[in-house]
Structure formats: C-alpha cells, structure tokens
Amino acid sequence: MNAIACHGISQSYGQYRVLRDIDLTLARGECLTLLGPNGAGKTTLLNILATLQRPSEGYYEMLGMNGRTDRDAIRARLMLLAHGAHVYDDLNARENLAFALALRDTHPTDRDIKLALDRVRIGAFADMKIRHYSAGMKKRLALAKLMLARPDVLLLDEPFTALDPDGAALMRDHIGERVADNAAVIIATHDPDKARPVTTRAGQLRHGAFREIALEDLRADGAV
C-alpha cells in the first residue's frame, strides 16, 4: 500500500495552471525531497495533500484512503509543517502544544510536553507567550508538535528556514527517525543540502509539472 498516490492532480486558478497532471506515488518509509523554483506549485501540492484545498482535476489516495471522501480519517494520520507556525500569539508554548494536540485527540501529560520542549531546546521558554518568540523558536515549537503527534505522513514545507544549524540538525534527525519508523515524508525546500542525509527520493516541480530526478542531481540551484 502506498502512503501517497496522486492520480493526475491539476490545479488551476482561472487561466493559470499551477499544477499539471501530477502522478506521484510514495511508499511508507520513503522521504521525497521536492525542489522547484518559486511559483512552481510546491506549496499548492502540499496544501492539496494536506486536505486544505481540492484539486481542480484528479484525486489522490493516502494510506489507502480516498482523498475526496475520507478527509477526516486522512487528517488524523498526517501533519503539515507550513510557513505559518499554527500557533496563537497569546498562548504560551505549553498551552499551544496542548491545544493543537488535543484537536488530534492526543493528550500528552505536562511531563511529555516538557520533555519535547527540552528536546528542541526551548524548554526554558515554555511559559513565555508565543508573541515574544523568534521565527526559529516557533519552528522548534512546530518540531516539538511533530515529535509529540508522530503522524504517519509528514508534509514539510521549507522545514529548515529560520532554523540555526543546531535546529536544522534537530529537524533532520527527527525526519530520519520518522522515516526509519516507516512514516512517509515529503520535504519541499530550496535547501536540499540539509535534507540530503535523510532523502531517499528526489523530485522536481517546474511550471506545475512533476518529474523524478536522481539523488545525485539534488542541488540547491535546482537546475537539472
């Protein structure tokens, strides 16, 4: 059973076609690093897979579930790390984690949350309002959320931006751990060097069309 199987997914906005006939399958335990210049449709593809929008044409299956009909079941198994941190400014880190995980029907104890925050090294700021967090700290908080939720499918949109080398290493180690744990991961990034150690497959989006590339061709400039 494939973790993700896209069948002819296209997305158009009026006369602009952002995605064109994407056929893509990803097995569990695979990590696909997706390259592509700005406007290539990476975020749109991740949004479609994350059930945030419906493709204009085509459909996908995730873990054997239909992306059109079993949306709630799919949502329970995947997580999207997006540009927005999905946190509330006026809650502190612990409250944000508790709320986000409660919506996923995960109820970590205070100790679990504290441990996760310590692992991403923001345990010292656990009671600070997110309003005062830096972008990197928010990213680390999102990483802590991933660690606690442990979804089967991870969709990561620019996971390394805003992170310092230490944070990027934490992120990469977690991805590697999840891949070893038989999760399926898609990383959309402009920074393939950081993703390379955990990548098992590479692909490229150009003008909305997907094509698989060799791992050796995974380069930052994206020119293949």
Partner: protein, 242 residues
C-alpha cells in the same frame, strides 16, 4: 474541446423555450391590456397585477431554483451547476428588483404611497439585499472552487431564512397597523385568470430561457479562461507537455 452535455441539451431546447415564452407573454399582454375587464374597485390600475404578480412569482421561483442548484452543486461539485447558480442569482435579482418596482407603481394609485412597510414588499427588499450580497460575495473570491462553495452556503442559508423573514415582518406589521389594502384583496374575476396564468407561464418560460442563455455565457467564459490557461502553460513549459 468538448462541450458539457448539460450545455448541449440547453442549446437544443433553448429555441423552444424562448419561442414559448414570447408567445405566452404576447398572448398574456393582449389579454391583460385589452381582453380583460377593469376591476370593480381598482379600475384599470388592476392591469398592473398581470405584470407584477408574475414577476414576483418568478423571482421566488428563481430563489427556489438557486437554493436547489446550490444543494446540487455541493453534492456533485460540477462547475456547470455553479455557473447555473451564478446565472440564476443575477436573473432572480433582476426579477426581484422589477417586481419591487412594479409593486411600488401599483402601490402609488392604490395606497397613495410608493412604499409601505407591507410584509411582502419588505420581504422582497430583504430578498433583494440577500441576492445582491450573494452577487457581491462572488466578486470577492479569487479561487473559483471556493467562490462556488461559499456562494452555495449563502444561498442555502438565505433560503432557510426567507420564510422566517416573511413571517416575522408580517407579524410585526399586523401588530403595528391594521392591515392596509392588501394586494391579496383583489378578488380574481374569471376574465382576469387567463391573462394572469398566461403571463405567469410566460415569465417562468422567459426566466428559464434567460437562465439557459446566461448559464451558457458563464460557461463559455470559464471555458475560455481554462483554454487560455492551457495555452499559456504550454507556452511556459514546452517540455512538460509532451
């Protein structure tokens, strides 16, 4: 490029519907203006009924079609159905505005006022506001899928709301003033029935004809956009297409 089968059907039958509408309306106009007797109380002014009442009925019919089409869209997610809903809304708004206008013209000689807070006039005004809000909403969304969904939500909720609006306004007016000469006070003489039925039928047919035309219009625009987009992306990414 294939044309949607609904649009094909529309192309086949639109001539009959349009011709039927023209015939019914002409016959209805003849009977209404010349062939029917003036009313005992209202005199010649009663002839406004033959245009006002069919317009109002058709506006309500249009709103029912809009709500039904919206449910249909949410069920099937067929863009043609969305084009139809968009078309219905514009046409119903037009019919509602005209029904209100002719109602006001009827009100002036009968109640000696262009506007009264009569339950029907008020509900029609609210209906018109909802329809205009609907059309405005559609211009505020860029994503066509989102536009269709949100418009459907608004239409369905408005349809649920409308009886409550009418009921509450009617209740409110009867509490505040004795019922004024109601438009319903006109007893329908036998000579009046024929033009009324013909005009109602003609207006419903005209509404269907307009709906067919406007649905095609919106559909063709969408087709044009999609087609242009395909050409554009072929131009941008020549390799990807082969």
């Amino acid at each position: 490029m294939t044309i949607h089968r609904v649009i094909r059907g529309v192309q086949r039958y639109q001539g009959w519907v349009g011709g039927g509408a023209a015939l019914c309306l002409l016959a209805g106009l003849y009977l209404g203006l010349l062939g029917s007797p003036p009313d005992y109380v209202q005199g010649e002014v009663v002839r406004i009924m033959y245009i006002h009442v069919p317009l109002a009925h058709t506006a309500l019919l249009g709103y029912t079609v809009l709500a039904g089409g919206s449910v249909w869209y949410l069920w099937k997610r067929d863009p043609v159905v969305d084009n139809m809903c968009h078309a219905v809304a514009a046409i119903s708004a037009c019919f509602t505005a005209l029904a209100t206008a002719t109602g006001m013209i009827w009100g002036k000689p009968t109640w000696d006022a262009w506007w009264t807070w009569d339950a029907r006039l008020t509900s029609f005004a609210v209906l018109l506001l909802i329809l205009l809000g609907y059309l405005m909403l559609r211009t505020m969304i860029d994503d066509p899928d989102k536009e269709a969904r949100y418009a459907a939500v608004l239409a369905i909720l408005g349809f649920v709301d409308l009886p409550i609006v009418h009921f509450s306004v009617e209740w409110w007016r009867t509490l505040h003033q004795p019922q004024s000469i109601s438009l319903r006070g006109v007893s329908i003489a036998s000579g009046m029935l024929a033009p009324l039925v013909l005009m109602s039928l003609g207006m419903s047919l005209l509404f269907s004809y307009m709906l067919m035309i406007r649905t095609q219009l919106l559909y063709l625009h969408r087709l044009l956009d999609a087609k242009k987009g395909r050409l554009l992306s072929r131009f941008h990414a020549p390799n990807a297409d082969s």
